[in-house]
Amino acid sequence: MVNENLLRAFDIVLAISLVGLATMLLLAKDLFKSVVMFIVFGLLMSITWVRLSAPDIALAEAAIGAGLTGALLLRALRQLQPALISASEADTRLNEE
């Protein structure tokens, strides 16, 4: 068996990251960053469902919450603000160089 204390520590880290990530994605100035953080949020949420012993919800969360909703949000964002996306792409390109 895995150490009980270790699991509890993991749960606490998970809970703090979820709330922290939710706050960050709501307050982010860049909507593209918000969407990326939402996808990460979905993945962490999926792990949370596993910890709450609901593996079927975890599967649905990973596939729909993180994957498909992310794709839909990215599409909606592109339709709303094409300038914003090209700007953030230019940013990442600059950062990579």
Binding site: A63, A71, L80, Q81, P82, A83, S86
Partner: protein
């Protein structure tokens, strides 16, 4: 386009938006408080599956309690959930002013890595989808999860340019597949009502088979519907744009 270009600065300029934020924050906190309070009122130590579900599990036709509840004990709920997805599809068709379905992507990621990766991974995704569906009768899994994986497969196929579907001519066929889950439930209901039984009763001894048949139809429906939520409107949007002069749908243009 001018008033579209910066949503964030206009947001801060209006004092009315502050009021709106406060109302939204208040409602959110109220809901969070209600959920928090109800959490402490849960009865202690209720093991899942709860007694009524546990006792009748053998009669349901499947060995997994969640699937038994979703597809047998409370199949009415699932039937209406399929309708919720159809309504979402209808909303997308309305907003994007579409009269037909099409699995089409205008700007394909023409990238050798993505093309190779999709070719490699798509067969396994289809396999995973089928496995999740089959697994749902015994272990966590089922129609919704399998449908989501199927939708992701379609998304990958079309965006990677593997499925050169173009505008699918027979959008009637797509419509039929979108409706398949709803129709499967309806067929069971009609047969039962014709025979004078309760609406969603499964024939004794055939429960497992009926559930699997309905789940297969629902999986394919959900998979296609979720993918169409993404793709609907992409094709025509581009066609309209090439006619007009503004370039709102070309994000790679320098602004």
């Amino acid at each position: 386009m001018g008033n579209h270009s910066d949503l964030r600065t206009t947001e801060n300029a209006l004092p009315r938006s502050l009021l709106r934020t406060l109302i939204a924050a208040g409602l959110t906190i109220a809901i969070a408080a209600m959920v928090g309070i109800s959490m402490f009122q849960l009865p202690e130590g209720t093991a899942w599956p709860t007694p009524p579900a546990r006792e009748t599990l053998q009669e349901s036709g499947v060995d997994q309690a969640v699937t038994a509840v979703l597809l047998n004990f409370r199949s009415y709920d699932t039937w209406l959930e399929v309708v919720v997805l159809l309504v979402a599809m209808l909303a997308v068709l309305t907003i994007r002013r579409q009269h037909h379905f099409a699995l089409q992507q205008t700007d394909i990621f023409d990238d050798p890595v993505i093309r190779y990766f999709s070719r490699l991974v798509v067969p396994f995704m289809v396999l995973t989808s089928g496995y999740l569906l089959w697994l749902g009768t015994r272990l966590p899994g089922g129609a919704f999860q399998a449908g989501a994986v199927l939708a992701a497969t379609l998304l990958l196929l079309v965006t990677a340019g593997q499925a050169k579907a173009g505008p699918v001519r027979s959008s009637r066929l797509l419509l039929l597949i979108v409706l398949a889950g709803f129709l499967a439930f309806s067929a069971v209901a009609i047969v039962n009502l014709g025979a004078g039984n309760p609406m969603l009763q499964y024939r004794s001894g055939r429960e497992g088979l009926t559930i699997l048949a309905i789940e297969t139809a629902v999986t394919i429906s959900i998979g296609l519907t979720l993918a169409l939520l993404y793709f609907t409107g992409l094709a025509s949007r581009n066609r309209v744009d090439s006619d007009s002069t503004h370039s709102m749908d070309h994000p790679y243009d320098p602004v």
